[in-house]
Symmetry: C2
Amino acid sequence: MKTTAGGLAAPLGFKSAGAYCGIKRKRNDIALIVSDRDAVAAGVFTQNIVRASCVTANSALLPSTTMRAIVVNSGNANACNGEAGDRDNELMAQFAAESIGVGRGQIFSASTGIIGAAMPMEKVEAGIRLAATKLQDENSDAAAEAIMTTDTFPKQFAVELTVGGVQVKIGAIAKGSGMIAPNMATMLCFIVTDAAIDQAVLQEMLSRCVWYTFNSITVDGDTSTNDMVLILAKGAAGNKPITGLDTQDAAVFETALYNVCLHLAKEVVRDGEGATKLVSVTVKNVAPPKALEDAYVASGRDLTKEQRASFARSVAKTIANSPLVKTALFGNDPNWGRILAAAGRSGVQFDQSAIEISLAGHPVYSNGQPTDFDHDMLSKSMSGNELAITIDMHQLGGEQATVWTCDFSYEYVKINAEYHT
Amino acid sequence: MKTTAGGLAAPLGFKSAGAYCGIKRKRNDIALIVSDRDAVAAGVFTQNIVRASCVTANSALLPSTTMRAIVVNSGNANACNGEAGDRDNELMAQFAAESIGVGRGQIFSASTGIIGAAMPMEKVEAGIRLAATKLQDENSDAAAEAIMTTDTFPKQFAVELTVGGVQVKIGAIAKGSGMIAPNMATMLCFIVTDAAIDQAVLQEMLSRCVWYTFNSITVDGDTSTNDMVLILAKGAAGNKPITGLDTQDAAVFETALYNVCLHLAKEVVRDGEGATKLVSVTVKNVAPPKALEDAYVASGRDLTKEQRASFARSVAKTIANSPLVKTALFGNDPNWGRILAAAGRSGVQFDQSAIEISLAGHPVYSNGQPTDFDHDMLSKSMSGNELAITIDMHQLGGEQATVWTCDFSYEYVKINAEYHT
């Protein structure tokens, strides 16, 4: 697998466009992604029970093997708008379907931006029809820009890999950068591939990849009403279709998909509101509670790898969301006490005397007490734009998980306090 | 019940003192609270599994009917210091016991401040012995000051009430103001009363009062390793002892104790790091999940009032801890979308179309959509130093809960990023 250019345009047979319709003041605010024939589709959606109209509508379309396009607007989340919101979302999909000449049931829709503002449907309709005239397969620069909200740079990525001797490509665009509106944010990612693959296999792979990537990042812990990751796969590459999870081809494809998701997930965090650094929090060797394992064994089942790793991820998420940890990171303060205290309230049991904490590769806590580290030197080595925090719980039979977060700066407060609807 | 002067000195037979020993640069850092005879004692401790030495030691002393004193230092949390920390905590209690001539088992200890720094025991010993020479029963100003860390004002309160025709008093001191060190914070509260009351009754009342007060506040969601609320009751008032929870006397006393806890809990939030306003988040009419109620009914038990209210409190806590909600509050932004989105990720089920949200008494969301409110006028009425947020879920058989929080300002980031250990 290697990276390649073109974003969404890298795989064969996908076109995209960006257009300006006036929801936002200046930048493009409508994106269209179109497959030239029916595509197998899978999706993962926000776990917030308050869901935007587009999330509900897209969920109802899955599973599908006949999807043709994704229409997206930025600047308005079309969330919490009641029946009017559902109607506007439906219209948006219909305008897209008409513009490209396919059925409404072949269109995914997505919105990101302010919650609770009415959609300016005349503008949206004009924007979608304009975007349809701009579709091209050279690159996805315009589409990647058109889905941005508080993002400071567009996010796209593509890889090529070999599946059963055939070259296959995966391309994607994504946006961040806080978790919810009305500071105009929401995590969205759209992926396309020319690989041939079964829908159920694609859905399972996407769910697993998202667990380790987009569901393992946090900017502020606030889950959006609009979050979604969608993938379209249409088989133009001509590989022998991937029909199961356990083949060599499946492993190669899933690894590539994971890498696409991981790259873009980290880009979202790197561009988190006010962020000055990308921080990985890796928690190692955390075992599931014995009672849970026993209950599974007794019922003849096994915990999945993700279930086993979820305890390590809970610890990592609690640390990654702690305002005290995040402000310390902004200040380059090697404050292991805040990390340990956050771990202690995560709900996961551990032995305080067995835990080891490292910052930027330097051990700061072990054997139940701080190490004799040089504060100023360590602070200096924390001052770059990437930082690794590692916590080892040393539990037998344990799993590990990594969560990516950013620091908490004056700029975050400024962006989120001074914006007015 | 009415408020009265004197703090810890209001009830009969309690003395207190504050002294300077040099853990902190300038301010008093040792407090001593002494009962002139054996007192019934109860306590509530941090739920963090990383616990300071003082928390572990105090828990082991309860239940007790023979406590005599509480010794406290600020500036050093004596947490995560391994066996040396346990030894230093033990020494601290012993110095206090010797200084006032009682047994070590009659002393509670408490520490607040930096996590993971060694305790300067020579200074601490001198400070405790000095404090013992300064004990007086005029007021508790010096003790209230000596337990402060990043607090900007001392917190004390006292009430008088009539129990069975006899005048009884409750006095207390507390400190905030972030949740954990090393920015030198931790929530501590020490309460004394001259009422005569059984230990088990006192413990149950304290636990219930703390549930609704100190366990219903948040500054940043970070649970300290050192949090504790202790109460000493010694019966000098001469009331007929309170021996059960269901009498008129018990109800009067518990209400007064609740009011003391509530007053100080709100003071802690009002003085939260960087806070510009005290915000109450009240969530009404949230019913427990039907499956849980059915399981209780099937087993012949009832959910307690607190268990029933815990679902409303979960929603309120998720809102109260959301960085996006808290930054919007700092900016006086009537941002109901962030409130609703936070509620949606709280884990509690509700119907989005039945929910009502009010800010400062003005409805902003109902019937599944925003109301037609005047943004600028509402923003203006949010700009005071107190604000009420109300969410009504309209679920049959539901309970309500209130959580108190503060806003999230530049100053919070400054305090927590620029401090270095």
